[in-house]
Amino acid sequence: MVRDYNNRHALEQKLRAAPTPPAADHLMVGHWRAVATVLARSGQEETVQRAIASVPEFAMRFSAPAEWLVISEAEAPSGLARRLEELCGAMAHVIDLSDGRVVFRLSGPNGRRILAKGIGVDLHPDVFSSGGSANVLCGHIPINLARVGEDVFELIAPRSFAESLFDDLMRMGREFELTAAFAD
């Protein structure tokens, strides 16, 4: 029933055009991605981290001490928050942010060069390795950046900034003919 109620993605206007075949450098936008913030209670940081890390379909992104963004491609938004609450019990507070965040995935050989136009963090794999994440600014926009593969970066941005970030990323990728489409 929830799904019948038209859920409007922040980039629906931008990505409405017929998708072009993805180029080597491609920006994928998660259409319906479950995202939640988990805040560990005092003294529970390690236990919570271990508990969430033990679930293979959850991906954890560090966003502050004892605070993570957890994303899941398998779960629906409310389902993710519920599972996390069950998992963490009284050890942590969980907030569903699926509607408040837009998940971008930038893949391709020039990802680092594209992101360097907006992000003042060294993205060399020796410094920012796979699995690493950080809250950074991309231009003026606060995002959580993670490296999820050798040539794959994930950017989690506040929904209200999504259009601006999308425009910025496409401009930053213009010299590499970056393409973009919804993931699903």
Binding site: Y5, I95, S98, H124, S164
Partner: protein, 985 residues
Amino acid sequence: MTGYRLSSGGLVDRSKSLSFTFDGRPLRGFAGDTLASALLANDQLLVGRSFKYHRPRGIVSAGPSEPNALVTIGSGARRDPNTKATVAELYGGLAAKSQNRWPSLGFDIGAANGLLSPFLGAGFYYKTFMWPKQFWERVYEPFIRRAAGLGRAVLERDPEAYEKSWAFCDLLVIGGGPAGLMAALTAGRAGLRVIVADEDFRFGGSLLSTSETIDGAAASIFADRAVAELQSLPNVTLLSRTTVFGWYDDNVFGAVERVQKHVAEPSAKLVSERIWRIVAKRALLATGAEERPLVFGGNDRPGVMMAGAMTTYAERYGVAAGKAVAIFTSGSAGYRAARALSAKGISIAAIVDARAEANDQAPDGVRIIRSASVVDTKGSKRLKGIVVERSGFEELIACDALGMHGGWSPVVHLACQRGAKPIWSEELKAFAPPDVGGGLRPVGSANGVYSLSGCFDDGAQKAAAIAAELGFSASLGASPVIDGETASSFAALWYVPGAKSKAFIDLQNDVHAKDLGLALREGFGHVEHAKRYTTNGMATDQGKLSNINAVGILSGMRGVSPADVGTTTFRPFYTPVSFGALAGAARDEHAVPARKSPLHGWAIKNGATFVEAGLWHRSAWFPRAGEKTWRESVDREVLNVRANVGLCDVSTLGKIEVFGPDAAEFLNRLYCNPVLKLPVGKARYGLMLREDGFVFDDGTVSRLGEEHFFLTTTTAMAGAVMSHMEYCAQALWPDLDVRFTSSTDQWAQMAIAGPKARAVLQHLVDDDISDRALPFLAARKIVLKTGVSARLFRISFSGELAFELAVPAGYGEAVADQITEAGRPHDICAYGAEALNVLRLEKGLLTHAEFDGRVTPDDAGLGRMLSMQKTDFIGKRLSTRYGLTAADRMQLVGLKPVDADKDMRAGAHLLKEGTKPSTLNDQGWISSAGFSPVLGHAIALAFLKSGRERYGERVIIFDKLRDQEIVAEVCDPVFVDPQNEKLKA
């Protein structure tokens, strides 16, 4: 001087002929030429007119220090004024124009300034145009602006794109000459992440213009091989056409890359220029050394050129600067130039050596005149001969070009941009780079090492040392074998005595030797004063050639060492950088990001006009057919909310979720009013103070669970409140077990306000939302009929019966559409930020127009909110200061005009009737004003001295900006429904 292309040689591609124009004249050059080398090859000697005297000027250098050959390249909006022809890469179709001449380069009326030159000495403008004062703007300034000035600024919109990029490396090598390339090779082979930046379009620096051979091959071949090897290393990045212009804190370097300034048809995919911010663990200053010009009579005649530049034109570009070249030198490089030119078949008229003796070898058969000097030059727009003086005897020597050499100055600029001054070295007879620590080290010629082998060794050793510091092991390879190397020395010669005509120091700004004497006589002998007084070094070249001679001349006149004179201050940028590049991509609508509400689409469908509020694009009003002004729309929206119902997007408010067993205690200390005992399911208005007792922000606090609170902040202060909370939690009260995070973007929040609000909302929910079940200030988690989880608050910013409904952002538009649909029978309207403002104004509710940082809770009429019985809260202590409790503070009041048709505006000041407007008589100010459609006249909120005691009194509203004074009556700030009957319906 007769410039021409040599029949062979040079690094230009003679198979690729390029056509270009200069002042409309079609000319041809080769790929690999600069505009300057191509002009010289076409015997175009006169390239510009000087700034002040409009004297004819020719090319002086072969690099970025060029003072004369400034041209405008391109046309229309793509026009680039003040481009140095000596660094502008030639491309097919390039169209260059000379500057600072009228009506033409050959015949310039402004040259008459030269005849007036006795009256146009240094400081002339300051002295002559002082008075009468009113003449300055009307007469003097327009005259000076027309007469003096270089290229014209482009006033059209810049069609080019620009961007910025970060880069990180272990080692940044600034300059791709012999020292830089060798350092890069050493570090690159050892595995360091290396960036090599060079402003030229071809790497090699002096290797491209020397006749020395390396390992049996031309030096340029060595450079090409080095570049090929560096390109093959994945850890090395080569940035050509990239000028490192600044050195900043934390060893961050600024650089500008001219990505496609050198193409006729720029690709739409690429930017024109790119700014790099390079974060380097270590950097090497391999910027080389600048050749010094000589200050002698007539030294600005077209055809007088740096000897090294002549060599570069011959060796690198295959261009001869003249058919009979004379050399005037105080060092061995003059002889080296003579040998190089002679080897290319160019005749050497004579070598005039200022020194009494030297071991340098002249080409066979060339006459050397020692202990001699050039005192004048002959010719008008091109050099025809030089007057040489020796032991009191003058001799005219015919020549068509003169190469001058006065020694070398290390290019120290970057190392001196963060406060350190260059150090005078008696040994080098130059200012050497200061020791600025390990982050940036000079190497090669920039370090005063002038021999090729010395540069190679210095580069390799410094790079190896850096590699070791960073934990890499570098091996020093065998030094390249150099053939043809000769020892290099020079004598410092700041000024050549006996000048028979003007001896220029700063060619671009027309400063000659006598100007410095005048500056000294008038008390401006300090190097910084002399610079301002004479304008020496103040031109676009920033005195790259002239400053050292000015320092030398000042030291001579003052009888002190150059060390005591010192240098002027080095600041970024090393060479001019376009504004476009500095702005990067941040322009027009991309200057700042736009934040869009989840209801943006709904607002567009309902015809909203948007307003930018901070980063947010908020719906401001919703015009309907027939409404001609924004006021008509706003009045209708307000009246409809008061009579029926309206829907407003309030998603932009900051939203923060607060959790934890100590959440209530935390918030109790954060807000000045009590929060500790707020029951679950209830909301409360909350006021935060700063430590100094003034209001920081206001909003609502709702308790959604025993350990879960939900705060709203004002749109503008959302970020600041979040930081404030982080500070309190982390620094002030780390013992409290509280966690919080922003959920601003998660929720689409709408206000449904008006007498019919409940009826409309009931369409969406099954829950009982009657006043009994959901009284004023109730806060609930609910589920809409459609299954969407939501939050419902009974709060009001309009004074009407109102609900705020929050749904997950993705559903916002659908829910707003549904409310709009369901509300149609109830005459619902969409209302925007303007109507919202009028509604709150009518109710005397406050925003940051009132909370401007000078207002206490009591000033705002909220004194009862201060809960002084709480143990502590932010702002408690300083709230009791005498000044903050004084009875005559400005207090919030309402104002209504005595004549109902009069308008009031925020910002106007208040006066007692019959008093003169003055700061002393100031009684207060209007913080917000608007038209109340309910009352039919303007209303305002104001801060008035002891205002609450003055209801009924008349005050003057003094509005100097609009030049009006009106009389208003002081009243209670709540204009509509003072008993709040509608709110609690």
